[in-house]
């Protein structure tokens, strides 16, 4: 503490501070310019938002959502849709945990540099294609229905989780695994008993985060025909049945709340093994 205090009164700090501020000023200026340029490029007439006419139209659109359709028959269908969305998101995330985990091993550089570069490229490619585009491709490959949505989520999420897993594997201390290897343990056993326990808690936490996001995404994937709440929502919105759409939105909200709470509870119980 004392040394830090002494250092801050030294002559070196103002110089460093100046140089950094040139950099951060340049960055701030760049970001500001990008934002201004974006708004200028789009040239949207924002006045339309605040006119009384558009306020009335938006108000009417919102009012059409009330009262929601709460007939038992429709509630049953909404519950079925919610279950399907939950299933799509869960299976998709689980498949992604497996595929991402397998790709993370080469991506963390365990099988040499060429494998590392190839795996990183594969992960980036999986991640860079939006879920909705994966879903559209999977609808071609597997036909309409929730299976296409499951595959789409699994493919995109594999890219995201694989990258995060590779980073945790690289950050994990190497000591325990090396100790087991030096004591004559087989490579797979050394990995499973030394490195895996160090990264499991973090990995499960990442997977739960992705599950929360995938629940939201699974609800939207239905728009390209991938089943669940999204497909029903798209159907009812496109035939202007706002009362039904509003029930579905509430089902979505409930599902998101429930899964967020559950996964938040599970994440709070997962203390990192090395902390």
């Amino acid at each position: 503490m004392k040394r830090a205090a002494a250092g801050s009164t030294g002559a070196s700090l103002p110089v460093r501070h100046d140089r950094r501020c040139v950099e951060c000023m340049a960055l701030a200026f760049g970001i500001g310019a990008a934002i201004v340029a974006s708004f200028a490029y789009l040239a949207v007439d924002w006045r339309g938002l605040f006119s009384s006419e558009s306020m009335r139209l938006m108000g009417r659109f919102t009012a059409e959502f009330f009262p929601p359709d709460l007939s038992p028959a429709f509630l049953g269908r909404a519950a079925w849709g919610a279950l399907q969305t939950f299933a799509v998101a869960t299976i998709g995330t689980l498949l992604a945990v497996v595929a991402g985990g397998l790709l993370a091993l080469p991506a963390a550089g365990r099988f040499g540099t060429p494998a590392r570069v190839a795996a990183r490229f594969a992960l980036n490619a999986l991640r860079s294609v939006p879920e909705l585009v994966w879903a559209a491709i999977m609808v071609i490959a597997a036909g309409l229905g929730p299976f296409a949505g499951t595959l789409a989520l699994a493919l995109h999420t594999s890219g995201v989780l694989g990258r995060l897993y590779a980073e945790s594997l690289e950050n994990a201390p190497r000591g325990p695994e090396r100790a087991l290897r030096d004591a004559g343990s087989a490579p797979v056993a050394a990995f499973a008993y030394a490195t895996l326990p160090l990264v499991t808690a973090q990995g499960v936490a990442y997977a739960l985060y992705r599950l929360e996001m995938n629940i939201r995404m699974a609800a939207v994937l239905g728009f390209v025909g991938a089943g669940g709440l999204g497909q029903m929502l798209y159907f009812h919105l496109s035939i202007f049945q706002q009362a039904q759409a509003s029930t579905l939105l509430m089902a979505m909200l409930l599902l998101v709340f429930a899964v967020d709470a559950l996964s938040g509870w599970a994440r709070a119980r997962l203390a990192p093994a090395y902390a």
């Binding site: 950094r20 950099e23 951060c24 960055l27 934002i35 974006s38 708004f39 490029y41 789009l42 949207v44 007439d45 924002w46 339309g48 938002l49 006119s51 558009s54 306020m55 139209l57 938006m58 009417r60 659109f61 279950l83 399907q84 939950f86 299933a87 799509v88 869960t90 998709g92 980036n124 490619a125 860079s128 294609v129 939006p130 879920e131 909705l132 585009v133 559209a136 491709i137 071609i140 490959a141 597997a142 036909g143 229905g145 929730p146 299976f147 949505g149 499951t150 004591a183 004559g184 939201r216 939207v220 728009f223 089943g227 919105l237 759409a245 939105l249 979505m252 909200l253 998101v256 709340f257």
Partner: protein, 279 residues
Amino acid sequence: MRAPSAVGPPLRDPAAGRRVGLAVTAAILLWPLLVLAEFEPWRLFDASHLAVMAGFLGGFLPPVVTAEFLALLVRATLETLAIATAGIALAFVIAAPLAALATRSLSIARIGPGPGLRSGVALRTVVRGLLTLLRAIPEIVWALLFVRALGLGPGAGVLALAVTYGGMLGKVYAEILESGDTRPARALLEAGSSRLGAFFYALVPAAAQELASYTVYRWECAVRASVVMGFVGAGGLGQLMDQSMKMLNGGEASSVLLVFLGLVVVADLLSALIRRVLA
């Protein structure tokens, strides 16, 4: 290295029973989910699907690089970038104040006995509820709402992104501000600093890197969300992709996908740059 059996009983995993139990429970829970998701991998190998897919994927190579399509692609990319950037800028404007209101780290009443504990908790709960509402309604529904006001076009897309991503950024900002080192903020508050002072001088500097990298990540997601924006005629890469997919034009689709890949790489570089400057 096998334990010599003469020394003692063979090695045994003490957690084996628990692990088997967990695996069986998971399998029982998983089965109905697999049925609900209509998990039928063999459908992928259906002859008719394979033929369509082969035709589509076969068209991926080579990507279309005619001057005409490239001009379209450049314009769509600029549009997508502009929508994502404007949307994230507005989302930040929504999220930053709400996150400051929602974070527990700035609560003075929590430090010691004093007035305002109840009203503080109530305020934070209301703000958190608002953030959840903003992000739980899908972008497309917000977009349909704003289309009523602004008509078909990028404006509705920007606002829809701003509202949903405002909700997401706000929630995550609040969590980042709570999970980092909050002792400096607490020290300032205990010494009588205002909440704003503690926010700008203690909380934000400690979490700046994480906040920035999450914001850049969200920008990347916003670029991908432009696919949704195609639905409201906002243009951009999503609409172009949609058209190529509907016509099963693999060459055009692969060009668009390559642009997505390039944008993700750019976002990674940008994130690294911003984190380095903030370090």
